[in-house]
């Protein structure tokens, strides 16, 4: 061992009793040409990393596609204050509303707080309880999630935003410039994720795991659109569709004892959800804010499930009536039909722009109409 440092030769007074003998602290350094090692490691790692970056770019990953982290959401949540225009909802609201187009038409850039797999009711409550917010709130309604779940996949972001530590915030700020440069910085490329995606056989008796594929790319302010690979790569699109079919199978309520279809959601349960929503909507309106609901397009099995299990009259219409709110459903507007939804749930990038062009003026027109209606009463 060529070198070591030690605390044994010290100025600290020696123990006055004999029995205590603290462990001698020696820190040997193995003999090796460490400078050469370091240089070689840095060069080899840089080369491997470059290869890794090229590999993932070949799979349509791109630099400037930001991770949809709690910190990214928290950064936007801090902007949702005063008279801001805010979008909440699930992944359809996240993918389908193009913030650039909305801003170009409305003259205001909305704050995007929608999150995949999560009911907007938790975000509605969060904003209703925040006295500083008195702006315009656009609530995307994915009927299944909205009525059956209070929270969902990502609801913990609210707690995260409230308790974010200085170091977490600093980490986020340091990560952004790297994500602008490197395409491989993506949740999907991590070895842990790749191990999960490895097509290994299922153990006997186990159900396959619902594991939705990467579907979107995201700007630094959470302006999102569908990932090009979902549109261009037929096999990948099939994987994404298969996951939706799987979740329908896994989450379908069991039939009755004689094979009859499961009972529909009772009126009391629907009314309870809407009453809770109304209380929060009223809080925002009492401060001078406004709330409007939107229902982005769906197709294929999603449309069948929503129309079959969540008929409009019992859910969407009742929501608007009981909360005395305006709403823009894709069902009601000719210009919102015949869109391209590659995996049935979200619009293609081109059609999210078309949808946003149609949606933005309608949101403001419907809100004004509703305000006038209320004023006239």
């Amino acid at each position: 061992m060529p070198s070591s440092i030690s605390s044994s030769d010290n100025a600290y007074p020696a123990p006055k009793t004999a029995f205590f003998d603290p462990e001698h602290v020696a820190r040997p350094v193995p003999a090796a040409a460490w400078r050469v090692v370091m240089l070689a490691v840095i060069v080899a790692t840089a080369l491997l990393t470059a290869g890794w970056e090229i590999y993932w770019r070949g799979k349509e990953f791109r630099a400037g596609d930001f991770k949809n982290t709690p910190a990214l959401w928290a950064e936007q949540r801090r902007k949702a204050t005063g008279d801001a225009t805010v979008l909440i909802g699930s992944s359809r609201t996240l993918f389908d509303v193009d913030l650039d187009i909305f801003e170009a038409i409305a003259g205001v850039r909305p704050v995007q707080l929608a999150l995949e797999g999560t009911s907007p009711r938790v975000f509605l409550k969060d904003l209703a309880d925040d006295e500083r917010f008195h702006g315009t709130l656009i609530v995307g309604v994915t009927t299944i999630l909205f009525f059956t779940s209070e929270g969902g996949l990502r609801e913990s972001v609210i707690e995260y935003a409230r308790n974010e530590t200085p170091s977490q915030r600093a980490d986020h700020q340091l990560s952004l410039p790297l994500e602008r440069v490197f395409a491989f910085l993506d949740e999907q490329t991590r070895p842990k994720r790749q191990m999960t995606l490895a097509p290994l056989p299922l153990r006997d008796g186990m159900k396959p795991r619902f594991d939705p594929r990467k579907l979107q790319i995201l700007d630094a302010d959470r302006n999102a659109e569908m990932w090009s690979r979902v549109v261009n790569d037929k096999a990948y699109r099939k994987e994404a569709q298969d996951q939706w079919l799987l979740v329908f199978r896994l989450s379908a309520p069991p039939p009755g004892p004689n094979g009859e279809p499961p009972p529909p959601m009772p009126d009391e349960a629907i009314n309870a959800v809407i009453s809770e929503v109304k209380a929060n909507v009223d809080k925002i309106r009492a401060r001078g804010g406004e709330v409007i609901f939107i229902q982005p397009p769906v197709a294929g099995p999603f449309l069948e499930v929503e129309q079959g299990g969540f008929p409009r009259a019992r859910f969407w219409d009742r929501l608007l009536t009981m909360t005395d709110s305006a709403g823009v459903s894709f069902h009601d507007h000719a210009e919102m039909q015949a869109y391209d939804l590659p995996e049935w749930s979200h619009l293609s990038p081109a059609d999210s722009k078309r949808y946003s062009r149609a949606l933005t003026p309608l949101v403001y027109a419907e809100m004004e109409k509703k305000k006038a209606e209320r004023a006239a009463r």
């Binding site: 061992m1 600290y12 006055k16 603290p22 350094v29 790692t45 890794w52 200085p166 842990k192």
Partner: protein, 473 residues
């Protein structure tokens, strides 16, 4: 601030730059002190006040103990130090636990008692720095050492950022003397320090979080009876996860300190190659086990007060050692099991005469595997959320659970089993040596290959989102 974060990379680069700048040693120590407070404040700035109070109280208490002429006064000032340190621990860490148990006791006695909501956040690493400062006052009280003359050195000893929140728990005699004279790493030390940081991060980010956590979380997160394969995979995966997580932290701490020219003691020595439990505790969380030995077991009388007292002292030490980890009966049981194992081992050694074949390779390997098996039983209590879950997991491992479910996919089982097998084999292979000695035998290309692999894996894993497990203690 997490070691596995970009913030730490920038923070550490600045600290190293300042440490190598042409300032006087006192200024450099001041820089390290401020850096250490910043490091801690990055979680929750107000909790820095606890560090300051702890520092001031032990600094003065130790001086007053040293200057006192009577035993009564010395004891009084020691009680002051213990009361403040244990008071912080009691309030922040054990308050809710005590309240819950008090409520249960009241309710079981037929007295309706509804406790107030307990919304106290646990300051990160409070158990570590509390034990470290208490060691200082205790050393002075027990006349093992005199108080240091420099307040700056003492404040830096309490807060030194590499080991502040998760150890190794350093003794005053190990670290304070190192602040007396200017410390600056040699080039070899600096490079080896960086190599240790990469190794520690690899252990934490790649092995613990990416390869082992999914299986451990999947099995322990089921909260129901699971198949024996799933249960064993989950428990073995946790044995690896907790080792790589904690050993990774210690390795990074040692590497970080070394880059600045300071030496921290080892905290692990290939513990899963331990043959018996006294051996295990000489290899696992060494800084805690020696702390408990020197400040609890020996003051209680150790093995000097007869057989029965020795066993009682062992049990008290391990039960409190368990409780040190967290305010839950699970940790008490974990400590209790280790106490029982140690007592049983001691009893066997006293009653069974040494045989020649005890030192055979096969017997030692069998004993090491038995030790590892028994350690895994204790990990069930350490990891499970409550005693019911722990008992369900033990029943699942024994194949006695009713309606066991399969909860782990091959995607989780295969990586976990491979890493755990590799870990146990490596510990066995290296049980009598050190990684430094091993690396000296390696050719240059192998060192480059191994560290390139680890650094590349770290980069493509993109850090991890989880804190070190031991932060919660």
């Amino acid at each position: 601030m997490l070691f596995n974060s970009l913030t730490f990379v920038i923070f550490f680069a600045i600290v190293v730059a300042l440490h190598h700048a042409p300032f006087g040693w006192r200024v450099k120590k001041f820089n390290l002190l401020i850096a250490s407070y910043l490091f801690y404040a990055a979680w929750n700035p107000p909790f820095v006040i606890l560090l300051v109070i702890s520092t001031l109280v032990d600094w003065h208490a130790a001086r007053w103990i040293h200057q006192s002429n009577t035993e009564a006064r010395r004891r009084l000032f020691l009680i002051l130090s213990l009361a403040v340190n244990l008071g912080f621990l009691g309030f922040f860490k054990y308050g809710e636990f005590l309240l819950e148990n008090f409520t249960t006791l009241m309710n079981s006695a037929g007295i309706v008692y509804k406790p107030p909501a307990w919304n106290i956040i646990l300051p990160v690493g409070i158990s570590f720095y509390t034990f470290q400062t208490m060691a200082y006052s205790l050393d002075v009280y027990l006349r093992r050492a005199a108080p240091t003359k420099s307040f700056l050195d003492f404040a830096l000893f309490v807060t030194f950022f590499p080991q502040l929140v998760a150890g190794p728990i350093v003794r005053p005699s190990q670290l304070v003397p190192q602040f007396a004279e200017e410390k600056r790493a040699t080039r070899a030390q600096f490079h080896w320090g960086l190599a240790l940081i990469v190794l520690g991060l690899f252990e934490k980010v790649v092995l613990a979080d990416s390869f082992l956590a999914p299986a451990a979380d999947g099995a322990f997160g089921a909260h129901k009876a699971i198949a024996p394969l799933d249960a064993w995979t989950g428990v073995l995966a946790f044995s690896g996860q907790i080792f790589f997580d904690f050993s990774g932290y210690s390795t990074i701490a040692i590497g970080t300190a070394l880059c600045l020219g300071f030496a921290l003691p080892n905290n692990f020595r290939f513990p899963y190659a331990a043959i018996g439990f006294s051996d295990f505790w000489r290899r696992w969380h060494i800084s805690l086990s020696t702390w408990l030995r020197d400040y609890l077991y020996i003051p209680l009388g150790g093995n000097k007060k007869g057989r029965i007292r020795t066993y009682v002292n062992l049990m008290i030490t391990m039960l409190l050692g368990g409780l040190w980890h967290g305010a839950s009966w699970n940790f008490v049981i974990w400590g209790g099991l280790h106490g029982l194992y140690l007592a049983a081992e001691r009893g066997l050694r006293e009653t069974i005469a040494e045989r020649a074949w005890f030192s055979s390779w096969a017997f030692r390997l069998a004993m090491a595997l038995l030790t590892y098996f028994l350690v895994n039983i204790t990990w069930v209590f350490f990891r499970a959320e409550n005693i019911t879950d722990a008992m369900t997991m033990l029943a699942s491992m024994a194949g006695l659970a009713k309606n066991p479910a399969k909860v782990l996919y091959l995607n989780e089982i295969i990586p976990a089993v491979l890493v755990v097998a590799g870990m146990v084999a490596t510990h066995w292979r290296l049980r009598s040596t050190t990684k430094e000695a091993l690396i000296e035998t390696w050719p240059l290309w192998l060192i480059v290959l191994v560290w390139t692999f680890m650094l590349f894996m770290l980069i493509i894993t993109q850090g991890s989102d989880s804190a070190f497990i031991y932060f919660q203690f």
